[in-house]
Amino acid sequence: MATALLRINISAHRYIIHFQADFGGWRLGIALSPPIPNPITRNPALNAHQLLVKKVNKCPRKVHGKSTAGIIVAAVVVDLHKPRSLNMKSRIARALVAALVAGTLIFAGTAGLGPPGSGIIVSSVNW
């Protein structure tokens, strides 16, 4: 399940290099930012930090680490938060609806011809 969804985003926004990996809900994000002060907070560290809060870590309280060093302000977030699983009832309900929709679309929408004698689709009266 951890390798089920791998999403990697690399973006350069406001001179911030941003790397994000999502392993089925386990998120890892790294952002590097030049020391350009944030126009509002005047704090260069917040450039990378804000981006991580926005892009990587869906909940600001989950930021684990942030560091500044040298001429590059770097922020690293390793988020070990795994999304909670949905209610089992709603999962089953949506699975049933999806199965119904997909089965109906395939069954009624397609016009495929099965083998004769299967007793399901083909038994010609005139053969």
Binding site: I40, T41, T104, A111, G112, I120
Partner: protein, 191 residues
């Protein structure tokens, strides 16, 4: 096809159980589309009834056009609808393909009971008819290009229309409010 549909439904349900696709609206409308197929299983045959089923699915696709994959399904439905419209609401299957696949001789014009198909000799739209032979182990089925496109559309819907889970959507809202709060925090005044 019933077995294939059941397998497709099971796979789709398992996929939707694991990931959350965008659920289509007006899905009970599809019950109307399935009536002619069920009717054919019990031996009821009304000319053009499968045409109605295909048309209903087309309408359903229009209602759900914003969901990924339904446009692909609509294309497949459209192709089937086009060729069935030319042949009085039945899906044509060439006699030579029927003979080659199942070893059955049928005269052109024969309506195949329990299916949507009518046997033809030739047709200007034969490329859209049932002519693609799929071997599933010992079983063979003949499908049309529209059928394959419909199955691809269903797969597209299930795989690429993921909707964020409820708690994730809630976290997104918290995130946006948190970012907005940070962005508008006034700078500390220099002493």
């Amino acid at each position: 096809m019933l077995t294939l549909s059941a397998i497709g439904a099971l796979l789709s349900g398992a996929l939707a159980f694991w990931r959350r696709p965008c659920m289509p609206r007006y899905w009970p409308l599809l019950a109307v589309a399935i009536v002619p197929q069920v009717g054919s299983l019990v031996g009821i045959s009304i000319p053009g009834m499968f045409f109605v089923a295909i048309a209903v699915i087309g309408i359903w696709c229009i209602y759900n056009r914003d969901i990924p994959g339904t446009a692909v399904v609509a294309i497949g439905i459209g192709l089937n609808l086009l060729v069935m419209g030319v042949h009085n609401g039945s899906m044509p299957v060439r006699a030579d393909i029927l003979l080659r696949t199942f070893g059955v001789v049928a005269a052109p014009g024969t309506i195949l009971v329990g299916s949507k198909d009518v046997v033809i000799d030739t047709s200007p739209l034969w490329l859209l008819s049932d002519w693609i032979i799929l071997s599933l182990g010992a079983t063979k089925v003949i499908v049309s290009p529209g059928d394959l496109i419909i199955v691809a559309g269903v797969a597209w819907w299930l795989l690429f229309s993921q909707k964020p889970e409820k708690d994730q959507a809630h976290a997104d809202i918290i995130d946006q409010t948190g970012v907005a709060r940070t962005a508008y925090t006034p700078a500390p005044r220099a002493e």
